[in-house]
Every structure is written in structure tokens, then in C-alpha cells.
Amino acid sequence: MAARLAAKSGYTNIKVYHAGLPAWAKAGHLLLTTDNFVKKRMGFVVIIDTRGPEAAKKGHIQGAVAIPLKDVVKEKNQFPLDRKAHLVFYAENTDMAGLAPLVKEISSWGYKHVYVLDGGYKGWVKNNGGIQKGLVRTEIFYIPRPHPGEIVGDEFMNIVETQPGDVLILDVRTADEADGGMIEGAVNIPVDELQGRLSELPKDKEIVTHCKTGLRAEMGYTILRNAGFKTRFLNDKVALIDDKFYCCFK
């Protein structure tokens, strides 16, 4: 433990914030994020330029949406449904005093990852972050970052419709669930039997797993991947009602 190590080296006034970062965030306190995180997460993060569209026209972080600080709260219904979405707010500098009340309010809506960009726009430019000038978006949009191994819903639908020869759809739900209807061409092996039935599966095809919600599909993917199969999984909800197949909603 870090505190013990510091005590050993002679530090006398040691404190431990035992509740840690999640408790800090839960209390609605502000967290800082960094340029590197925003760059790494680009495309799968909501970035809001709180300086507003006028300032943003002269230059804003690539992909940012411009909403003036005083108006952000009014746009509540524009925010993503997914409360795990990463939201990054920035001002000209690290404006903690100005952004703190906003972070508190937005955290209270249930968002778990609300951050303020350390260094603000100036810091971003200084660290050679990508910028855009001129037209700026004012409507929030959000795409969740896909898990490793995830297949996009559209591509899955395409496989279901065209049934290509080099792909096998593996239904990993229970036999009971599968009795209620299956996707045409799919093979059913419940995920809890999969480890023992790997020999039934072809090694020369890509195996795409699905279940009802995506949870077991991912577990099936893990088993197959560890066993050396080429595989992906559908991380979406699938419903089979009266033998009709409804797919790919989160």
C-alpha cells in the first residue's frame, strides 16, 4: 500500500482518501481529464465547448459541440441515453470555478463519466490537438465505443440475410430459449456447454455469437477466442417473437 511505503520512508503526515475517486465523482465534485484521453477516445466521447458557437467558430476541438455554458443545462434532452457515456466539457482554460456547478448538475442526472478538460482549449492547441474552424455543431451526438470483438448490428443483419459460406452464426442461448425460435441457419450451443462442444465447430469459418442481450454472446466469444477460433459477438439485444426475428437494439 502506497501510504505504508511513504510512512516507511519517513513521511509523518499521511492521509488516505479511502473512498477514492468513485466517491469523489459521486459527490458531484469535478474531475479533470487530459488531452491524451480525449485523443484516444475521439469519436466515442461527447465534447462540449462551453465557450459557445461564436468563440468555437474561430477554432474548437475536433468533434466538439458548441453550447454556451449558461445553456448547457437547458439541453438536457439532447444528452445521450447511455449514462455511461463519457462527457468532456472545456472552456478557454482549466476553468474549474466556472464549470464546477455544471459538472455537479450533470452528474446528478446519473452520468458516471463527467470530466473537465485540464488545460482547456488553450492547452489542447498547445499540445497539438486537432482543431476545426468555421462551422460548428450545436447538437449532441454520441456513439458508444465498441467492445473488442464486437460486430456492428448492421453487419450482423447482413450476415443473417445473405448467409455467407465463411460465417457461422452461433446461438449461445439455452436449448429452451432456442426451441422458441432461432435465426435461420444458426447453430445452437448453450454457452455453458460450449467448452465441451468445441469440436462441433468449424475452424475455417468465422463464428459470430449472439444471445438475447449480448452478455452470454460475449462469454461465448471469450471461450472461442481462447480456443483459437476466429470469432466476434453481437453485443445487442435480439428478440424472436412468433418465429420473427428482431435485431440489434441496445
Binding site: 502506497a2 520512508s9 475517486l21 468513485p22 460475449e218
Partner: protein, 199 residues
Amino acid sequence: MKHMKTILIAFFGGLVLFPLLFANAGNPPASGDMLSKKCLKCHAGFKDMKNTLAGDFNRRSNKAKSIQMKINNRMQLVKFTKETTIKNVPSIKALKGSIPIRVHYKKVGPDLVATAIVAKPKMDVPKDQMISTKELSKLVAQGPKKGGYTLVDSRPGNLFMTSHIPTAISIPFPKMKKMMAKLPKDKNQQVIFYCQGFR
């Protein structure tokens, strides 16, 4: 003769390979680590435990009676049963987020079945060392100079990069011995540590 040799090699090579190929199918994944490096850093003794997995909890499915855990850069599945014992958390449902766990298992057919799941126990911190969210937020509002403190984020660097408490410096715990110089010279100054927190 040459042809004969090639055929013989192919034949015997095939004999050797044949059972290998098939023995592999259906066996538990022998490939990959069973103990995460992160756990071994402090618990080298895990190496001597047989049939043990150590890593971070990831997901649980009741329908599949399985949990998925992360070990270094890979995932591993383990089944659980009514007989599986759970330690340090009230029930298997209380395993959330990416809490570190140790799993003792037995091999049942092709599967790994957990006999015991041991969650990382709560950290024991002396009461006089604890600092509350309220106290800390007051200090952070003052800043390190005026507040007379150094705030240390002990989590891995990538988590610091994602988000951190304002005014914190990053000293990931495994690198701490090398990074001691980042702590204040005055050993009587207040040093506050935090990490991802404990349940």
C-alpha cells in the same frame, strides 16, 4: 527411396500431429495466464496455489452460471454452482465493476468450476489516517500551496489520464519506489493518497 522417405515422414508426422489436433478440442484453455501480473506483484504466493485464477471480475451470467474475469490481457470463464463459496462480499451478486478476485476451481469435464471465489478484502486504514470527501474537497479548493498538501493518485497511469482529482499527481503504486522524488522534500508535509476506492 527419396519418395519413400517423404511419404514415411508425412505418415509418421501425421500420426504425431493427429492426436495433438484432436486432444486440443474440448480441453480447458491451457493457453494464456491464469494469474494476473498485477495480483502477483503483492501476492507472489498465488504461484504455489494449485488450480487458482487471479485477476479482475468482469461479468456474470446467471443463465450460463458463469463469471468472466480478466487476467492480464485476456478473458477467462469459470462456472459457479450452489456449492461455490464466496468470501469478502455478501454474495456473488455483490461482485461488481472490476473488483480483484481469486478463484479456486476444479476441472469438471471440459469446464473450470469455481469452488471458492475470494474478493479482495477491504483495506485496513487506521482511523486517524482517513480523510473524508468533504475535508479533501476543502483542501483541493485551496490548492496544494495554500492547503499545504500533496495529493497522490496511486492508480495506473492510464486511469489518471482518463480522469483524476484536480491538483493530483500521478504515482502508480508499482512505480512508487522509483518515483519517491515526486513526494515533497519536507517529510512533515501532508501527503494524501487515493486510488479507485473500496466498495
